[in-house]
Each structure stands twice: as structure tokens, then as C-alpha cells.
């Protein structure tokens, strides 16, 4: 498989708790094999990249990790506990939050309320939830827009609020689905800063799905490459950039360098 893995299944057991794992996950939609034995181990202190051409199974992976999609075989574990049969809200309250490429804010709720919806589910009082919501909004730089309806925000702000909202849940792991899509270079720079701060500041591991290679290479410590539902490489940004198989996977439509947008 040409996997330049530095984390094999053997080392997963050692890290013990504080880890989000996909073990040999297979997802089949009718005759289509969407995911073929995918293994991921996301630690709480790292930013892990998930890349691959369109249709590689990145979104399906996120859906499986959040309990939205049941795997055909294999399992997902949070801190060693299998999430098989859990509702998505239970997975969310157990520490896995996600964002969508389209921010999917609640348009009629205020920006602040959007974040409070999540922070009240992090446990604690309503007052504590409101305080946490305020802190996170300040961190993403949207505190001055807290009382506006979410529908009044521009695209970039919607993305930032969506990240704030996911973090408000006090997750152990956050899965970001193409947060840079449609952002200009300046916004991408801000995003890189923001994402890089997440593990240290919020104690939360990041799974970053992104087409923008510059963003991925600058933020992630490890990267997993999927192609056609199969993991084809895993390793450091440098190792991935020079990996022949990764280049081949991307050459079908574009070389890794050209995947810049």
C-alpha cells in the first residue's frame, strides 16, 4: 500500500485514552466501496490532515467518525470506547465536534445563540455556557457581531463562527471539513493561525480536511492521503509531498502543487 506510516495499529494501544480512532473502517454504499479499511488515530494534541482527490472518501470518513454514518465493518472508538449504535448527539457530547464546508449556521439565531446551542451541551450552568461562548467568539474575532443574526454574516465570518460553535461543545476532537474553501489568501492566513492555536488553547485535537495544500502543509504534523476510499500514504507533510504514489493519485486531475486554489 506504500504507507509511510509512523503510527501503526501497534502503537495505538500505547497512547491509551484521549484518542479518536477509526479501526479498519469499511463503508459500502450498494456496490460502491466508499471506504476501504481506513485506520486513523487522532491524538488530542495534534493537527492531523486528511487529503485526497474528490470522491476519495474524506467526507464519508468524517461522517463515520461523528457517528452519522455507520461503518459496514470496522469501528470507531473515542478513548477506547466503541461508538457503535450511538446517536450523533451522544457522540457529540462525548467529545467529537465537526464543521461543514457550508458553515450551516442556524440562520435565524443570533451569532451568540449559535455558539450557545453547543456550549450548553458542554455541561455546566447556562451562565458558564454563555461565558464560554463569549470567550470563543472573541477568539475567532467575531465578538462584535455576536448579536447579529447569523444570516447577516459574510462567508468568512460564517466559517469562523462555525469553528467557534464546534469548539463551544468543549470537544476533545474537532473535525474541520474544508474550512478554507472559498477563502482568499489573507483569510487563509488567519485560518492557519486559528487552527494552529486549537490544540494548545482549547485542548482539542484537529482533523483537517482540506484541498488547499498550503494550508494543510503549514498546519498539520501528520497527513493521511485517501484515494478511492483507500489510504495510500500517511506521514509528515514533507514525506507526503515527495511521495510518488500521492503524486500519481493527484495526477489524474492535477499535481499536488496545482491543487493549490
Amino acid at each position: 500500500m506504500g504507507v509511510t506510516a509512523d503510527i501503526g495499529p501497534a502503537s495505538i494501544g500505547i497512547t491509551g485514552d484521549e484518542i479518536l480512532e477509526a479501526r479498519d473502517v469499511v463503508v459500502r454504499f450498494g456496490g460502491l466501496l466508499a471506504l476501504d479499511r481506513v485506520n486513523i488515530a487522532l491524538r488530542r494534541n495534534e493537527i492531523f490532515g486528511l487529503i485526497g482527490p474528490n470522491g476519495a472518501g474524506k467526507s464519508t470518513t468524517v461522517n463515520v467518525l461523528t457517528g452519522f454514518q455507520q461503518p459496514t465493518s470496522g469501528e470507531v472508538l473515542i478513548d477506547g470506547r466503541s461508538i457503535g449504535g450511538w446517536s450523533t448527539n451522544r457522540v457529540a457530547r462525548s467529545g467529537v465536534a465537526r464543521t461543514f464546508q457550508a458553515a450551516r449556521l442556524f440562520p435565524a439565531l443570533s451569532v451568540f445563540e449559535n455558539v450557545v446551542v453547543a456550549s450548553v451541551n458542554a455541561g455546566g450552568s447556562l451562565a458558564a455556557a454563555r461565558e464560554r461562548a463569549g470567550d470563543i467568539l472573541a477568539w475567532v474575532g467575531c465578538a462584535n457581531r455576536a448579536d447579529r443574526p447569523a444570516s447577516a454574516l459574510n462567508y468568512g465570518d460564517q466559517r469562523r463562527v462555525a469553528i467557534a460553535r464546534a469548539l463551544a461543545l468543549s470537544p476533545k476532537f474537532i473535525l474541520l471539513d474544508e474550512p478554507a474553501a472559498g477563502m482568499n489568501e489573507r483569510e487563509c492566513d488567519q485560518l492557519v493561525t486559528l487552527v494552529s492555536e486549537i490544540p494548545g488553547r482549547w485542548g482539542c485535537g484537529v482533523l483537517l480536511i482540506e484541498h488547499n495544500m498550503a494550508v494543510v502543509m503549514r498546519t498539520c504534523s501528520r497527513i493521511l492521503v485517501l484515494d478511492g476510499g483507500k489510504p495510500i500514504a500517511e506521514g509528515t507533510p514533507v514525506a507526503i509531498q515527495t511521495n510518488a504514489e500521492v503524486r500519481r493519485a493527484y495526477l489524474g486531475d492535477k499535481a499536488p502543487g496545482a491543487a493549490h486554489r
Binding site: T66, F68, S87, T88, N89, A92, R93, A97, R98, F100, A102, R104, F106, P107, A108, L109, E113, N114, V116, V117, A118, V120, N121, A122, L126, A129, R165, A166, L169
Partner: protein, 300 residues
């Protein structure tokens, strides 16, 4: 002038029904026609079960606060039970499946009530003191009309406060806009839906009591017309917006009352046809309802 007061009272009553229907539709995309039977059951809870047309009061004979609490409790329990037994197992299926389930449930309730109480309307002596007219600025307003308007204002205000300033309320509003996303943020689906049904039960109970005081009659289909009107109200208001649903309820109720007063006597029996025609006209010119329909907007 008198007919304007009548219109406002009827409008208020239908606004209550519309709030209940709109709330449940918001979180579940279900138009719950069994809401009609919540109203009917609340009314029948007042009497000792019998086939008599002049039944003895049961809960209805209790002191007022206790009586109101007991009827509310009965209807809330029925609403929660229907959610648990008839709708929760079907969650995630097609909205039309839920709709069929609500129709089936409604017929089941009606037939059961007929079986126990028989199908003839019953007249009861209940809250007749409230039917007495109060004189305000030369107008003679029945007390029950004032009570209806007051109930609607209080219930509406409480609901707004609840949805705006409590954790659960904000979660319900979020779930009404994007249920999947809300769940991914940890919102408990079961709790949010159950609370919405409980509130629809509370609103249903208040409608039962107001209706019985107003008419002094029990009928196993007494909840149907208010709920059909309430449903039209939510459609006219724009599905998915509660204030618009309440406004819609007020408008259809008021329109029906005014038509009753102003139509030539020969046409009065066909009053409902005029109201429904008005609903169709609204839908033709504003298919999305009077308010912008958030709930119906396409989801990304």
C-alpha cells in the same frame, strides 16, 4: 364593533392552536392532526365517563387551580405518550409517513372517545360565570372572550421568553432550523421533541378549557375545526415561524368571525368555504406564506 371583539377572541383561540401546531412542525416536520384530540381529550377529562348527554362533572368540579392543573397534566401526558408511541418510532422516515400516523392516531382517539362516551354531543354546566358579559366602554364583552385573549397573550409571551432565554428554548429553535446540525452539536433529539410535544399539550389543554367555557358542549370532534384552522394559520403565516403562525391564527379566526357577522344570512352556512377560499388565495399569491419560511428553505 361587537363583531370586532368576537373576531379578536376567535382569532386568539386559533392563534393558540397555531402555536402548538407550529412548534411541533418546527422540530419534527410533522403536522400533528392529533392535536385536535388533545383538545377533545382535555374537554372530556372534565366529566365522569358515561354515555349520558348531561354528564356529571369529575375534574370539572374541582377547585379552579386544581382543575386547570389536572386537565393540563392529562393532556400533556397524552401528548407525550403519542410522541413516544406513535411518532418516535417513525422518526427519520418520510414526513408523509408521520402525517399518516397522525391521521390514524386522530381517528383512533375519536373512535375510542365515541366508544366510551358515545357520539352524541354532551352539554355541561362549566365555568358559566365566565360566560357573563362584562361591560367595557359601552361594549358588552363576554368574560370568556377576555379570558381567551388574555390566555393567548400570556401563553405567547411565556413561549417567546422560554424560546429566547432558556438553554432548552435556544436548542429547540436551533433544532427547528437544522435538526441534523443541532444533534451534531450535542442537542438531544428526544428531549427537544418531547418538550415541544409537552408544550403543544399545554396549549391544547388551554384551548379545551376555553372552548368548553365558551360553548358548554362536548363533542368527540370538537378539536377538529380549531386544528384545521390552526393548520391553515400556520400555512398562511409561513410554516416554521411561530410569530407568523400566531398571526396567521389570529387572521383566520378573525376572518371567520367577521364573515359570520357580515355575510348575507343565506351564505352564512358556507362561511368556512369562504375562509378556505381565502387560504387558497393566499397560497396562490404567496406560496411561501406571509412570513419568510425558514423551515422550508432548502438545506445545504
Amino acid at each position: 364593533m361587537q363583531s370586532l371583539v368576537d373576531a379578536a377572541a376567535t382569532g386568539s383561540l386559533y392563534a393558540l392552536v397555531a402555536l402548538a401546531i407550529g412548534l411541533v412542525f418546527g422540530v419534527m416536520r410533522l403536522i400533528n392532526f392529533a392535536q385536535a384530540d388533545y383538545i377533545t381529550i382535555g374537554a372530556y377529562a372534565l366529566i365522569v365517563p358515561s354515555a349520558s348527554t348531561v354528564p356529571t362533572l369529575f375534574i370539572g368540579a374541582w377547585p379552579m387551580p386544581l382543575m386547570v392543573a389536572a386537565v393540563a397534566l392529562v393532556v400533556v401526558l397524552v401528548a407525550l405518550a403519542t410522541e413516544r408511541l406513535a411518532f418516535r418510532p417513525l422518526r427519520g422516515t418520510d414526513p408523509s409517513t408521520l402525517l399518516v400516523s397522525s391521521f390514524a392516531l386522530s381517528f383512533l382517539f375519536q373512535q375510542t372517545i365515541m366508544l366510551i362516551f358515545n357520539s352524541r354531543p354532551k352539554s355541561i354546566e362549566f365555568g358559566s360565570a365566565l360566560a357573563a358579559a362584562v361591560e367595557i366602554a359601552g361594549l358588552r364583552v363576554p368574560g370568556v372572550q377576555l379570558l381567551t385573549m388574555a390566555t393567548t397573550i400570556v401563553a405567547g409571551t411565556l413561549l417567546v421568553f422560554f424560546l429566547r432565554y432558556t438553554a432548552l428554548g435556544v436548542e429547540i429553535r436551533a433544532a427547528a432550523e437544522d435538526f441534523t446540525m443541532a444533534q451534531l452539536l450535542g442537542v438531544r433529539a428526544n428531549r427537544v421533541i418531547a418538550v415541544s410535544f409537552a408544550i403543544s399539550g399545554l396549549l391544547g389543554a388551554s384551548v379545551s378549557l376555553l372552548l368548553v367555557v365558551q360553548t358548554g358542549t362536548l363533542d368527540y370532534r370538537m378539536g377538529i375545526m380549531p386544528v384545521i384552522y390552526g393548520f391553515f394559520a400556520t400555512v398562511i403565516g409561513g410554516m416554521g415561524s411561530l410569530p407568523a403562525a400566531a398571526l396567521g391564527g389570529f387572521l383566520v379566526g378573525a376572518a371567520s368571525q367577521l364573515l359570520q357577522a357580515w355575510l348575507p344570512p343565506d351564505l352564512r352556512p358556507f362561511r368556512d368555504a369562504f375562509v378556505f377560499g381565502f387560504v387558497i388565495a393566499v397560497l396562490l399569491f404567496r406560496p411561501e406564506g406571509l412570513a419568510r419560511p425558514r423551515a422550508m428553505r432548502e438545506r445545504v
